[in-house]
């Protein structure tokens, strides 16, 4: 073929490729005409209202109020009365001048970009501005919502929202600078539900830079979709009551509805007030430096030694593994003696059977039970027995994360055979080296949430539902997660003696040796177990877990008070008041509640560490 013809054909083919590309870009593909980067179009973001949070009775816990952000597009600014502007918004004139100067000096760099000029203008200022908005070309207002907390309780749960920072933006490309995002608590766990969907109005500008005309009559505008409301499982009055009781005390209350796993109240004291939360930016420094750490949610983050409440777990595992029966008796003479040591106990009659051991919280009994578990002929050597035991404990949700909807939930502690191999040498440790696990001391740590969940598990005779705060999660994934029954692998009949023991601990006649008499309520059958956890940093921690009523339980409670002495002394009364308040709707023992409320148990802390 003629080379010239070939060459010209080639050139025309290449030209056709270019023409095809032009056709694609300019005629076919609409994407470039309404692109967000198209400088001729001004995208005014419409922010959605964030979803509200209500309690189980319909009280609004977290609501919204309207505020306004004043936006500015520097290229559109014309001369305006700066003083009038500052008076309208109550802002400092020097700040305004500084910003305007910056815009003038960086005209090219800024181009058509839009910035937030003033944040969170209250609606009173906005209405003054709206009357004379025409005097300030280049500025416009967009409505934003700010959080309000009309119900004075539960501030530690909700968490706060703030503008997304650079790190967050980098990981979540769907967010833009200036978007609010939940930083902690429910706001964070349910960010996807609460946030809603942003919309925008598209304005178009002419060649002289003047905007203010809707692009194609709003055909391409997208309305903002408000976030969905959440219904918390929290019982507002109970939560408020719990916080009132915990005044001047350090510790937690967790109350769960056993049949659903719904958290009725969860108090971490000292905690945040709704006032702190509304002004979190201002208060943050003070809160962060408070030695009592009010922002630290003890109920889900503190791993405490559970103390004697843990005996119930060993009682159940012992029965399940067949190493004890409800009628197994062990004797106790103020303790359990073994080669090289003694585990002390308090004075009570001896020997005891299983239900009496729970009722009187006998240490020696559980030393025997634990030794029997570790010497279980079906699981030898001891490392096997230990691993088996650990697995069983983990099924109770202890030593593992429960998976609640607290973003900050921690798993607590449970040692492994490795821990002991390291301390004592491989194969060189026996049941006696780890005997403190029998009574919930030593290397075991549980959060109050996990202890409350244990109470709920006993109340349900064998299963729990992951404790959670939100009743109406809209997605099926969460719904499935928070309705599934987790069986702990203990046969139902083994729970009866344990529940009987917990019943007797509270309801046995005075003088019979029940450890939890102070949890007793007329007309309501409470089953409970005390714990007195030794605290290496100071006075013992006071622990109590219970559920009520005995038949068809409606509430399971854990109260954990730091440095407050024996479990029966303070934790049991607090728990009994919570139970009464919830089941009866009111508390008849007014003097008793006043006494609990006004007792200051903070005085023993803080313990200063030696430097």
């Amino acid at each position: 073929m003629d080379k010239k013809v070939l060459l010209i054909t080639g050139i025309i083919v290449v030209a056709l490729c270019l023409a095809a590309r032009m056709f694609w870009l300019q005629i076919i593909d609409d994407h470039y005409k309404v692109s967000a980067d198209n400088n001729a179009l001004l995208y005014q973001t419409q922010y959605p209202a964030r979803g509200e949070i209500k309690d189980r009775n319909g009280n609004i816990l977290v609501g919204n109020k309207t505020t306004y952000d004043i936006m500015v597009t520097p290229v559109d600014i014309e001369e305006f009365d700066t003083i009038d502007f500052c008076l309208t918004f109550h802002v400092d004139i020097n700040d305004v001048r500084k910003k305007l100067k910056y815009y003038r000096e960086n005209k090219r760099k800024i181009g058509y970009q839009t910035f937030t000029f003033i944040k969170q203008v209250p609606s009173s200022d906005y209405s003054h501005y709206a009357e004379k908005a025409y005097k300030f070309p280049g500025f416009y207002a967009i409505s934003r919502t700010a959080r309000v907390y009309p119900y004075e309780a539960g501030a530690s749960l909700y968490g706060y929202i703030n503008e997304a920072d650079s790190a967050y933006l980098a990981n979540n490309p769907e967010y833009r600078r200036g978007d609010y995002v939940g930083i902690t608590g429910i706001e964070r766990s349910y960010e996807d539900v609460l946030r809603g969907k942003k919309g925008y109005n598209i304005m178009v500008r002419d060649v002289h830079n003047r905007i203010r005309q809707s692009f194609k009559n709003g055909e391409y505008d997208v309305a903002a979709e408000p976030g969905k409301d959440l219904i918390a499982s929290i019982d507002g009055p109970l939560q408020q009551y719990g916080e009132w009781l915990m005044k001047d005390k350090v510790g937690s209350i967790v109350a769960i509805e056993p049949s659903t796993g719904e958290i009725l109240a969860i108090v971490s004291s000292p905690g945040l007030t709704v006032n702190d939360l509304s002004n979190i930016r201002k208060e943050y420094g003070r809160l962060a430096s408070d030695p009592y750490k009010p922002m630290f949610n003890r109920a889900v983050m503190s791993a405490y030694p559970p103390g004697s409440v843990f005996k119930t777990v060993n009682a159940l595992i012992g029965q399940q593994n067949g190493v004890i029966t409800p009628d197994t008796k062990f004797s106790c003479s103020r303790g359990f003696y073994y080669a090289g040591g003694k585990m002390g106990c308090h004075g009570h009659r001896s020997p005891l059977n299983l239900r009496e051991s729970i009722m009187m919280s006998c240490n020696a009994y559980y030393a025997n039970v634990f030794r029997a578990i570790m010497r279980d002929p079906n699981h030898q050597p001891i490392s096997d027995a230990f691993d088996h035991w650990k697995e069983q404990v983990q099924k109770f949700g202890i030593g593992v994360k429960l998976g609640s909807d607290f973003p900050s939930e921690l798993q607590g502690n449970l040692p492994s055979t490795k821990t002991y191999d390291k301390i004592h040498g491989k194969g060189k440790w026996s049941a006696f080296n780890i005997l403190s696990l029998a009574i919930g001391q030593g290397e075991v740590g549980a959060t109050p949430l996990q202890i409350a969940n244990l109470a709920a598990t006993i109340a349900n005779k064998g299963y729990y539902i992951i404790p959670h705060l939100i009743r109406n999660a809209p997605d099926s994934l969460r719904r499935a997660k928070y309705t599934e029954k987790h069986w702990v692998g203990i046969d139902q009949q083994h729970f009866d003696p344990v529940i009987e023991g917990m019943y007797l601990a509270v309801n046995a006649p005075p003088g019979a040796g029940g450890t939890s008499r102070r949890a007793y309520i007329d007309d309501i059958v409470v089953c409970g177990k005390t714990g007195t956890a030794q605290n290496p940093h100071g006075r013992d921690n006071s622990v109590f877990m219970c559920f009520a009523p005995r038949e068809n339980p409606k509430i399971a409670v854990c109260v954990y008070l730091e440095n407050s002495g024996a479990g029966g002394t303070w934790a049991a009364p607090v728990a009994s008041l919570i139970v009464e308040k919830y089941l009866r709707g009111e508390v008849k023992r007014t003097e008793f509640e006043q006494m609990v409320h006004s007792t200051n148990l903070k005085q023993y802390v803080p313990v200063k560490r030696k430097k």
């Binding site: 010209i8 030209a15 023409a19 002419d206």
Partner: protein, 486 residues
């Protein structure tokens, strides 16, 4: 050539190729208007405001027209050929000097500054290279099939390329690659061009997909070529299953039975699979049992394999980081609309927002305030696309294609070898500039900073393109005169 001065002048004036002159004027005026629009602001709205680029461009246009007139009427083109080595060497000196004495602009050392006016020798060396190449190739007895002649011609092109590469003006150097078309027109076999394009395709496939894909493609294409040209098509029957097998090497190596495949990279396995084929192929060629096409197909296959295995070296060692990033961005390997992809993204929006008829002169909103950097120079086509739309862009492209094909047509008709070859040079250079520049602004090619002839702002460019074109117009007039005389 016996007529008096005045007689010659009038005849010449009539014989200037009207088509070329008209397209030149259209492009220059259209370019100037677009620069005005791109830089336009209300404070400086007078089109002859000499503090602005459009004012300056007006000066460049005037000077260029003056140069054009000088070229048309005051210089005898017959004198050009023997002088070309002198021009060429002088330009090499300038190109070398600028490496040491030039000012660094955007990372490349290619500018001389006289006061505030910059001069870019690389722009002008296209002219001297084209002239010398035409001179060398038009010598009596020159033939590309003579190895010495071919080498000499190649050197003429390669030396300035190397110097310009040293200035880090990769874009300008790339333009010289287009001169391969001149070699093609003057006798270079067509399959070399095909091979060149094929190697570029290998490079892209290797980066965008995988070395394995590239190898399988090369093998399949070469075998198919052989199939259609060979006297023994039966070979293809083994090539197809082999190619299929190659595709499945990574999958097979995941299975237990063929787990041993993991021992070597899949590319190496592909090579091993090709070996017997290549062996028998070579044997057939040596025994003269293959057609020339079969031979070229094998050479191409070997070249492709070498290309695939050296892509990483080219990509990592030869190219500079920003060039790498531009290629990766074009191929969609990385997306970075704020950084490296910003220009192209903004440019595509500008062109795309033009629609069918465009927004009208001075009504482009997208191209104001330098949203597209280099708006008036390398990205001037954005303004065209936005303000004149698909219609205007297409017409502009049409004018360019008319200009280029007209030059080729006139050149091929010319009986004088020097004029003919020079015409091919001019056409190739324009073609490279137009395709690369427009392709880049529309996101078809990586960002390569070379101007759009006659439209982009810049004195050196305007002048060099004008000289390049008008030397040809003048040489072409000579032919017409001859026609008239004899």
């Amino acid at each position: 050539m016996t007529g008096g001065m005045s007689y010659n002048s009038t005849r010449r004036a009539r014989k200037v190729d009207f088509g070329l002159l008209l397209s030149y004027l259209i492009l220059v005026v259209f370019g100037w208007l677009n620069i005005y629009s791109a830089v336009y602001s209300e404070e400086h709205s007078f089109i002859l405001d000499f503090s602005q680029r459009y004012g300056l461009q007006f000066i460049w246009v005037c000077i260029s027209l003056g140069v054009a007139i000088v070229l048309l009427y005051l210089i005898n083109p017959r004198n050009f050929p023997p002088l070309t080595p002198i021009f060429y060497v002088a330009m090499l000196v300038l190109l070398t000097a600028v490496i040491f004495l030039g000012k660094e602009v955007n990372g490349s050392r290619s500018w001389f500054f006289i006061g505030s006016f910059g001069l870019q020798p690389a722009e002008f060396s296209k002219i001297t290279t084209a002239l010398l190449l035409s001179y060398v190739m038009s010598q009596y007895g020159f033939s590309l099939s003579n190895r010495k002649d071919a080498l000499r011609a190649a050197l003429v092109v390669i030396v300035p390329i190397l110097l310009i590469l040293m200035e880090k003006e990769t874009g300008s150097a790339l333009v010289y690659v287009g001169l391969i078309l001149v070699f093609y027109m003057e006798g270079l076999a067509g399959w070399v061009i095909v091979l060149g394009l094929g190697l570029i395709a290998m490079f892209v496939i290797t980066i965008a997909l995988s070395p394995l894909t590239a190898l399988v493609c090369a093998f399949s294409v070469c075998c198919i070529i052989r199939f259609f040209t060979s006297r023994k098509p039966v070979w293809l029957l083994t090539a197809i299953p082999l190619a299929v097998l190659m595709c499945y090497i990574p999958t097979l190596s995941e299975t237990e039975t063929f787990g041993f495949l993991k021992a070597l990279k899949p590319e190496v396995w592909v090579l091993l699979l090709m070996l017997p084929h290549v062996f028998f192929w070579t044997r057939d060629i040596l025994a003269k049992r293959e057609t020339p096409s079969g031979k070229y197909a094998l050479i191409s296959l070997v070249a492709a394999v070498i290309m695939v295995f050296s892509v990483n070296i080219i990509f990592d060692k030869v190219l500079q980081p920003h060039q790498k990033a531009r290629i990766e961005n074009l191929l969609g390997i990385t997306e970075d609309l704020q950084g490296i992809g910003y220009n192209v993204h903004q440019s595509k929006i500008a062109i795309g927002s033009g629609g069918f008829t465009g927004k009208g002169f001075l009504n482009g909103t997208q191209t104001k305030y330098n949203f597209v950097p280099e708006q008036s120079t390398d990205f001037i086509f954005c303004t065209v696309g936005e303000e004149w739309g698909f219609l205007g862009s297409l017409l502009l492209l049409g004018v360019y294609i008319f200009l280029i094909t007209r030059i080729i047509h006139l050149a091929s008709k010319n009986t004088d070898a020097f004029t003919r070859i020079y015409g091919y040079c001019v056409a190739s250079i324009f073609l490279m500039h137009v395709v690369i520049n427009i392709g880049m602004t529309m996101g078809l090619l990586p960002v390569i900073g070379i101007p759009l002839p006659f439209l982009s702002y810049g004195g050196s460019g305007m002048m060099s393109f004008t000289i390049l074109l008008f030397i040809f117009i003048r040489l072409d007039m000579e032919r017409q005169n001859k026609d008239a005389d004899f």
